[in-house]
């Protein structure tokens, strides 16, 4: 059973909609800038990629501020029997922040199940959804799980929603791990020194081919295969040789019944940390039969959007495949030797509409999708 992606939308620091995101990436200009949302003097950096008009002081949570316009625009075209899968790392964490600051004990509202229910109600869904949390691979695994439901026949419509916001909670955490680049994220750059946080929210609607045909929906892409693995060695550092991620990629290609040589591009996790980016390139090289193909990271432009990142990158991958153009890796000045030939400062023409999307997360989680645009 084919798993089609029939609809999607996103908001990032580049603005609302996939067109704004795509134009921003092609411009090679970053959306990372100084933030004033909370004091940053004691953190590693004061930079992040935040969405205009999202304000933690507003009554609604930051992720809902991002999602409300998306919901309003899409609710008439999302079927009420779609299964919701929410992907997020910390969701509406500002409820917890406020409660702790006030010395209270009622931070339960920050739990992801409340956000999940809010989204079900807002989209008018009449099925119970689930929340998938897998660190920075949350959306990718949510898409894989949704695709599994469609392929197995358990559901014929799945709404995958990914979201995370730039909060003081998360900023403090990543700064405590010394994971932030004091300048800004430079994925695959020789002088890269860490990640930059970003925020985003969006959705993709997965549908079985028969249902899409019945409803006259045009596909914007297809989820052809997926592979999930764990490094099982360390909570924050990846397996340096990339073998865990390489296995995930091979699994995804095997599920898609595709030779690696057919892949035309890779949208990498590419956080800008020394270890992640090195690990990924080694993983790509370890997949026998995978040619050197245009490989890019969007995180120099959008920042690292945590639980939303896989979903944002899936939408970019599908647009990239359709345009037959891999966007530049924003902020790349001097490519790391290991990534030479793979990652470019400029947009690259593509010969194939097949894309591999990879994401990795804390706990040694690896996820790979094979997508067709």
């Amino acid at each position: 059973m084919k798993v089609l992606i029939v609809q999607g939308d996103v908001v990032t620091a580049y603005g609302r909609g996939l067109d704004a995101l795509w134009a921003g990436l092609l411009s090679a200009k970053t959306a990372i800038r100084p933030i004033s949302r909370f004091p940053t003097g004691h953190f590693q950096t004061s930079l992040a990629a935040t969405v205009d008009d999202v304000d933690p002081a507003k009554p609604e949570s930051m992720v809902m501020q991002m999602l409300r316009p998306i919901i309003a625009q899409s609710s008439s075209s999302i079927p009420s029997d779609a299964q919701l899968i929410l992907a997020s790392t910390v969701g509406e964490i500002e409820w917890l922040q406020r409660e702790v600051e006030a010395g209270g004990h009622g931070a339960v509202r920050s739990c992801l199940r409340f956000l999940q229910r809010t989204l079900e109600r807002s989209w008018g869904l009449d099925r119970d959804g689930i929340t998938v949390s897998a660190a920075c691979a949350s959306s990718t695994i949510a898409i894989a799980h949704g695709a599994g439901l469609v392929r197995s026949g358990a559901c014929d419509a799945v709404l995958v929603v990914g979201c995370d916001a730039v909060s003081e909670f998360v900023f403090a955490g990543f700064s405590s791990l010394l994971a932030l680049d004091p300048l800004m994220a430079r994925p695959f750059d020789r002088h890269r020194a860490g990640l930059t946080l970003g925020e985003a929210a969006g959705y993709v609607l997965l549908m079985s081919e028969p249902r899409a045909r019945r409803e006259g929906r045009q596909a914007i892409g297809e989820v052809c295969g997926w592979g999930l693995t764990s490094d099982a060695v360390h909570m924050t550092g990846p397996l340096r040789d990339g073998s865990g991620l390489a296995r995930a990629m091979r699994k995804a290609l095997a599920m898609a019944e595709m030779e690696p040589s057919r892949i035309g591009s890779i949208v990498a996790h590419g956080t800008g940390t020394p270890y992640n980016d090195a690990m990924e390139i080694r993983a790509f090289k370890a997949v026998r039969g995978l040619d050197i193909v245009p490989t890019y990271s969007i995180k120099g432009g959008t920042g690292h959007t945590l639980g939303a990142t896989g979903l944002v990158e899936t939408l970019v991958a599908l647009r990239s495949a359709r345009e037959r153009l891999a966007p530049p890796s924003v902020n790349l000045l001097e490519c790391d030797d290991e990534a030479s030939g793979w990652v470019h400062r400029d947009a690259q023409p593509l010969g194939s509409r097949l894309v591999v999307s990879t994401n990795s997360g804390f706990g040694g989680i690896n996820a790979a999708l094979v997508l067709s645009g």
């Binding site: 702790v100 199940r113 119970d128 998938v132 660190a135 799980h145 403090a172 296995r247």
Partner: protein
């Protein structure tokens, strides 16, 4: 792919109020203090290797790792598992307590210094990550908050990874208060050692409706 394959529950481990055990092997032993459980399970043989890293675990991580160790121990020695073993964790509150601990500690420092050792616990998936590292589980790994607060839903989610061929076996582990239950799912062979989830739960003695 293994679509249409039967899924068997081939091992189960549980932690209850003052007792712990293995489902298939019908082991039921008592404990007084949850802090002594890891050492007790190590002596029992359900946990191998050093417990040094366990000192940094929060309560849920410790519960999860104990239950997973017991579940894996409960799998028959002659039960072949081809492929990766993955893990899916589930609970209702996610990482709520870890989140509170982290942010309270940060506020208490005058917002001057957050602790990375606390931050890494603040993901709902952190406990299954710890179990993945402890028991070298190299398959799919994620946390699920089920809609209807029933473990059976999480088992269904994990079973997809088996039918997709993404794993040879999946450990599903849930925590609820001071209780934890882990079961090992594998593609069915129709062997006499196979159990249903309901039987495993009944054998555990855990009675909260969450465990259905």
């Amino acid at each position: 792919m293994n679509r249409g394959s039967r899924i068997d529950v081939v091992g189960g481990g549980w932690i209850g109020h003052g007792a712990w055990g293995c489902c298939r092997r019908q082991i039921h032993l008592e404990y007084l203090d949850a802090g002594t459980l890891p050492a007790a399970l190590q002596r029992f043989g359900a946990i191998n290797g050093s417990l040094k890293s366990w000192a940094r675990f929060d309560r849920i991580s410790s519960q999860v790792c104990c239950a997973v160790g017991l579940a894996l121990y409960d799998v028959p020695a002659d039960r072949p598992i081809a492929g990766d073993i993955g893990i899916v964790g589930a609970n209702i509150e996610g990482a709520l307590n870890a989140n509170i601990d982290f942010f309270r500690d940060y506020i208490g420092s005058g917002r001057q210094g957050a602790r990375g050792s606390l931050f890494v616990q603040t993901l709902p998936s952190s406990p299954v990550s710890q179990a993945s590292i402890q028991f070298r589980l190299c398959g799919p790994q994620y946390h699920v908050t089920p809609a209807t607060n029933r473990l059976s839903e999480v088992v269904a989610a994990a079973a997809l990874s088996l039918t997709d061929g993404d794993a040879g076996a999946m450990v599903v582990v849930g925590t609820y208060g001071s209780e934890a239950l882990a079961v090992v799912l594998a593609t069915g062979t129709g062997s006499a050692d196979a159990r249903s989830l309901d039987v495993m739960i009944r054998e555990s003695g855990l009675t909260h409706p969450w465990w259905r």
